[in-house]
Structure formats: structure tokens, C-alpha cells
């Protein structure tokens, strides 16, 4: 190790590793270069510690504002013990089925998204359901964006969020994924998706009398 002192306490960032990427395997003939910096094993160790994981999140029936908190945690690397606001250890999150999100209460009708074109009279107010009809990824994207502190890092962090309206995720992105985030709340089954047999066999506390007419 060249200067071991500086690696005290916090592992050096990925940037450091990348700068020294001219590793032993790319410089087979240049041994001296290697001796002055760090061994290939140490370098690999850092590569592992700062590896970017790709997480998959299914937004079906999930509250986008609650989900945003979990997504932000993963995007910013807040779920890692090595977290530091300046060491760029955030992961990627792929969100699927964003079309099937569930807003709480009256939110579809009451939530308003404001936009201004900066021209006089350029203000517009879009209801959540309208926005969702126009672009089914925007509600969750905005929830994540607004859930983060407004700083210079925010837009870069957003680059690591990939939202898809349905479960058709491009193959090259799907291959990157190595972890799944669990649902935040159970997904209910729609009544019309339950088969008649199941309904028939479900235990009943009382049976309606034969002559009882269901309206």
C-alpha cells in the first residue's frame, strides 16, 4: 500500500479505485507501477465495497409517497453502513408497474401538480389522475424527487432511478438487477380476480336462507 494512512476510517471512494484501475492485470509488464500503489487484492476489495447494486421495486398497489422514502434510501445509499454524503455510494432502483400505484384517500382527485412555463399566464395545474393518464411514471418520479433535499446531488441521484409503467423492463436493464425490494403493504386481490370455486368453498359464518333475495 502506498499511503495507508489516508484509508483510515472510511473506505476510499469508488473514484479512487477507478483512477487506479490500471491494475496489475492490465499492466502485466509494469510491476514497479503496481508496487508503488496498492495490490490487486486491495483494489478488488474496494471495488466490492463500493459495488453499485441494482434493486427492483414493484409499485403495484403501493402508496407512491411511502414507496418514495424506501426508494430514496436505496438511491442515496442510506441503507449502507459506509454511507457518507460525499462518497457516492448510492444504488440503482428499477421501479416496475408504476401504472398500478394506489394513491391514498382522495388524492387522485385532490392532488394538484403545478407547472409554470415562465411566460406570463404560463401557470398550469394538473390533477394527479390527469398527470397519471398523460404519463404513468411521473407521479412516482415526482414523489421521489420531492422527497429528497434540494441540492446539487439531487438530479444526479435521480439518474439512478428507472421507472417503467408496466412489467416490460428492457432486457439489458433486467440483467443488471441483483436484488428485490419487498412490498411495503400487502397487495389485495380484486374481487373479480377470485375464482367462483374459491368463493364457493370459503367458510361462511351464516348461510342465507333459501328464500332470501339478494339485491
Amino acid at each position: 500500500m502506498g499511503n495507508v494512512s489516508s484509508k483510515n476510517f472510511v473506505p476510499r471512494s469508488r473514484k479512487f479505485v477507478r483512477r487506479n484501475q490500471k491494475s496489475f492485470f492490465q499492466h502485466k509488464h509494469d510491476r514497479k507501477y503496481l508496487t508503488s500503489i496498492m495490490s490487486a487484492v486491495k483494489r478488488a476489495q474496494q471495488w466490492a465495497t463500493f459495488a453499485r447494486t441494482w434493486h427492483l421495486f414493484d409499485a403495484t398497489w403501493q402508496n407512491p409517497f411511502d414507496s418514495a422514502q424506501v426508494i430514496i434510501k436505496h438511491l442515496m445509499g442510506l441503507h449502507k453502513p459506509i454511507y457518507h454524503p460525499m462518497n457516492d455510494c448510492g444504488d440503482h432502483v428499477v421501479v416496475m408497474n408504476s401504472r398500478d400505484i394506489a394513491l391514498p384517500g382522495d388524492e387522485w382527485r385532490k392532488r394538484v401538480y403545478f407547472h409554470h412555463t415562465t411566460y406570463p399566464g404560463g401557470a398550469s395545474w394538473t390533477l394527479a389522475w390527469e398527470l397519471h393518464n398523460k404519463n404513468p411514471t411521473l407521479v412516482i418520479k415526482k414523489a421521489v424527487y420531492n422527497g429528497m433535499d434540494g441540492n446539487l446531488q439531487r438530479r444526479h441521484t435521480m439518474q439512478r432511478l428507472h421507472v417503467f409503467p408496466d412489467d416490460k423492463i428492457p432486457e439489458e436493464i433486467l440483467k443488471n438487477i441483483s436484488n428485490q425490494i419487498r412490498y411495503l403493504r400487502p397487495v389485495p386481490t380484486r374481487l373479480d380476480h377470485i375464482s367462483p370455486e374459491e368463493v364457493e368453498n370459503y367458510p361462511k359464518i351464516v348461510d342465507y336462507p333459501k328464500q332470501y333475495i339478494l339485491r
Binding site: M1, V4, S5, K7, N8, F9, P11, Q45, A48, T49, A51, T53, L56, D58, K80, P81, I82, M96, D167, I169, L174, I177, S178, N179, Q180, R182, Y183, L184, R185, P186, P203
Partner: protein, 186 residues
């Protein structure tokens, strides 16, 4: 202060040449005691020279001590360390005890420690025995076989039974018992 350290060298507490792993070597190689023979500000230094210098030299044979009288100037200790650094310590109006103590400091330190800002109060060459944390340290190896997306891995992990599940269980147990009874009687 906000920036007194701006033009200071920075570093970590390190022993020169792994001092102490092999054997201890005093890092102060020579010291020049400069003083005036007449001036009052050199009085403590003169006392020191009179009473303690011989003892000091005897106790520290590895340090070369020079004494340099000069007229009408502030007394000073000029220390030279093995790493080539020099430190000049003015001891105007110091008492004999103070000179003794400052000389003791010069003798025991590796270098001019007031000239570096310590980034950390400690240093280690092997920060980790078990290997630093990685995202995979506690990962379930079963995940290697998963084809993403896997519906099972989305499910919430609830250990507690829900009320519905409990009811269903009771119902099934009832049915089972009834069936048994029917079999026994029939």
C-alpha cells in the same frame, strides 16, 4: 481557528522508521542552546546550564549538545531531528524548570509536532481483519439462483398470523374433526 492550519503540513501520528518495532532511537540528534551571558532574559537558561546541563548530556548520550553564547539576544533552543527538520524554540525569561521541561519535550518528540496538523489521532495499517463490509457480506446465497423478477421475493415478510388466516385455520381444523367423526360413526 478556521484556517490557521491552511499553510500547515498535515499528517498522521507515525513513528519515524518504525521506531520501536526494532529498537528505540531518540529522534532528536542535536540541540544548540543559545543564550546571552549578561541579559536578564537568559537567566533561566544560564541556571540550567550551570546546574542541569551535565546531567542532561549524561542521560542522553545520543544527543549532541552545543552551547552558544551570543550577546544581547533572546535565548533559544535550536533542535535538529533525525528527519532533517529544525525547530527553533525561543525561551525568553524562562525559568530553569521551564527550560528543563521544554528540552524534555524536544527530546521525546519525533519531529516539530506543532508544525503539523493531525488528520486523525491514530493510524493503522490493517484496519480490518474480517474484511470490510461489502453489499454481499450478508447476502443470502440463495439469491444467486433467482430469476428476476421473482414474485416470491416481493412478498412482505410477516411472521405474525393475520386474523383471517387464524380463522381459516380454525375452520380447517373443525372440518377435519367433523370428517373424522363422520368416518368413526360411519
Amino acid at each position: 481557528m478556521s484556517n490557521s492550519h491552511l499553510f500547515m503540513k498535515t499528517g498522521f501520528p507515525r513513528a519515524a522508521l518504525n521506531n520501536g518495532i526494532g529498537r528505540y532511537v531518540c529522534q532528536l540528534q542535536r540541540v544548540t542552546i543559545k543564550f546571552c551571558k549578561n541579559n536578564g532574559s537568559s537567566r533561566g537558561v544560564r541556571d540550567f546550564l550551570e546546574h542541569d546541563l551535565v546531567n542532561f548530556a549524561k542521560e542522553n548520550p545520543g544527543i549532541v549538545v552545543y552551547v552558544k553564547p551570543r550577546r544581547h539576544r533572546t535565548p533559544a533552543l535550536s533542535a535538529e531531528y533525525l528527519n532533517g527538520e529544525k525547530q527553533l524554540l525561543f525561551c525568553r525569561n524562562y525559568t530553569r524548570e521551564e527550560v528543563n521541561k521544554w528540552l524534555g519535550l524536544l527530546r521525546s518528540q519525533v519531529r516539530d509536532t506543532s508544525a503539523i496538523r493531525l488528520r486523525k489521532m491514530w493510524h493503522t495499517d490493517n484496519p480490518s481483519i474480517q474484511g470490510p463490509w461489502t453489499p454481499w457480506t450478508f447476502r443470502d446465497p440463495a439469491q444467486n439462483l433467482v430469476e428476476f423478477p421473482d414474485p416470491k421475493l416481493f412478498k412482505m415478510e410477516t411472521e405474525q398470523q393475520t386474523a383471517t388466516e387464524k380463522l381459516l385455520e380454525i375452520f380447517k381444523a373443525q372440518q377435519e374433526a367433523e370428517r373424522k367423526r363422520a368416518n368413526e360413526t360411519g
